[in-house]
């Protein structure tokens, strides 16, 4: 059960309320809004990642799911299994990336496999081998590579917060992709 109280919309600044509403009023946002002096900036950083079209949504969601699995974060897994499906990731693929090693045998293309390798190495060893890094960089270029790293950064850090606060998965509400314009 969520370990601290949710902030109600009327307790948020107008900007924080709008950002939260555009992302489905999820439990994650209502909990983190407790950090009211830094919540808006954190939400803006997240909106940028969710609305950027530099990295295709399917690739992004594969990386998010792999991150959520390796960080052992039930909340992120609960949300993004459904988000990934709407981004064109099949149920079999979702099961593969959220398992220890099945993803290596699944039918992902070379770029997807390189990204999954990078994510796995980085989250298990805190580093990436030069070879794997170069595969991703050569395939995606500098801009998308940095964005992918920022996605891993965001969701690994978020996983720590969600696990620390033991945030309950929303019953039915799911993150709208892209966020709803308010």
């Amino acid at each position: 059960m969520t370990r601290i109280a949710y902030r109600r919309p009327e307790e948020m600044t107008e900007q924080a309320r709008e950002l939260t509403s555009a992302r489905g009023n999820l439990n994650v946002y209502r909990v983190l809004a407790n950090a009211e002096k830094v919540f808006t900036g954190w939400m803006l950083a997240g909106r940028a990642i969710l609305t950027s079209q530099t990295v295709p949504v399917r690739l992004r969601e594969l990386v998010v799911l792999r991150t959520a699995y390796l960080m052992d974060c039930p909340y992120e897994l609960g949300q993004h299994r459904d988000v990934a499906r709407t981004a064109g990731v099949s149920s079999d693929e979702i099961n593969a990336v959220t398992s220890e090693s099945d993803w290596q045998e699944a039918h992902f293309d070379a770029v997807e496999l390189a990204l999954l390798r990078l994510t796995t190495e980085l989250l298990t060893t805190r580093n990436v081998s030069a070879k794997v890094f170069e595969q991703v960089h050569a395939a995606l270029g500098s801009e998308a590579t940095v964005e992918v790293l920022m996605v891993i950064s965001r969701y690994s850090g978020l996983a720590l917060m969600l696990n620390a606060l033991d945030v309950d998965l929303d019953e039915t509400a799911r993150l709208p992709i892209p966020p709803v314009r308010s």
Partner: protein
């Protein structure tokens, strides 16, 4: 050597150049500016984290240094050891945070020690036991505990980006934690 070319500051749009002039012309910013679609939002987050009055500068650096150490981030340590010293942490305390001296003998306040314990458990196990959470919650309360987690989250994730890119520590430029008049 950074595995991704660093952007040139001169080629950044005016608001980015101004932000870097304020916070420091650092390699980390030149690296992340490769992704302009997400860079601006990230800088707003950083500004709020460092402008917030919730924690003392010293307390914030205790948390950041511990995360940087546990994540093995040469770059974050390269920047923040000096900043931590400027906020009043002693060499013994810094060494204790970096596990080369004893935490118990370093003279941390109870609040600082609680923060260090939370960061250590969270970064190494990815969660907090009921007891650890209850202790931290009693010390910090809802708002400050959540904000502490935001700092951990930012530096934990950033360390992964910096390690992956194998970013070089800046020769001399340092992150400006205070901006405006108070430099």
């Amino acid at each position: 050597m950074s595995r991704i070319p660093l952007t040139s500051i001169e080629q950044q749009p005016e608001p980015v150049r101004e932000w870097m002039a304020r916070r420091g012309n650092l390699n980390v910013f030149r690296l992340l500016a490769n992704a302009p679609q997400v860079f601006d939002g990230w800088t707003q987050m950083v500004d709020e984290l460092f402008d917030s009055p919730t924690f003392s500068r010293r307390m914030r650096e205790v948390v950041i240094l511990r995360v940087a150490h546990l994540q093995g981030s040469r770059y974050e340590l390269g920047q923040h050891v000096g900043i931590a010293r400027n906020t009043g942490l002693t060499d013994q305390q810094i060494n204790a945070i970096l596990d080369t001296d004893h935490l118990d003998a370093a003279g941390f306040s109870r609040t600082e020690r609680t923060a260090l314990d939370v960061v250590t458990e969270l970064c190494s196990t990815h969660r907090l036991t009921e007891d650890s959470f209850a202790t931290a919650h009693a010390v910090f309360g809802d708002e400050a505990l959540t904000e502490l987690l935001m700092i951990v989250s930012c530096y934990y994730g950033l360390a992964l980006v910096l390690n992956a890119a194998d970013l070089d520590v800046d020769a001399a430029a340092r992150f400006q934690t205070l901006t405006g008049d108070a430099t």
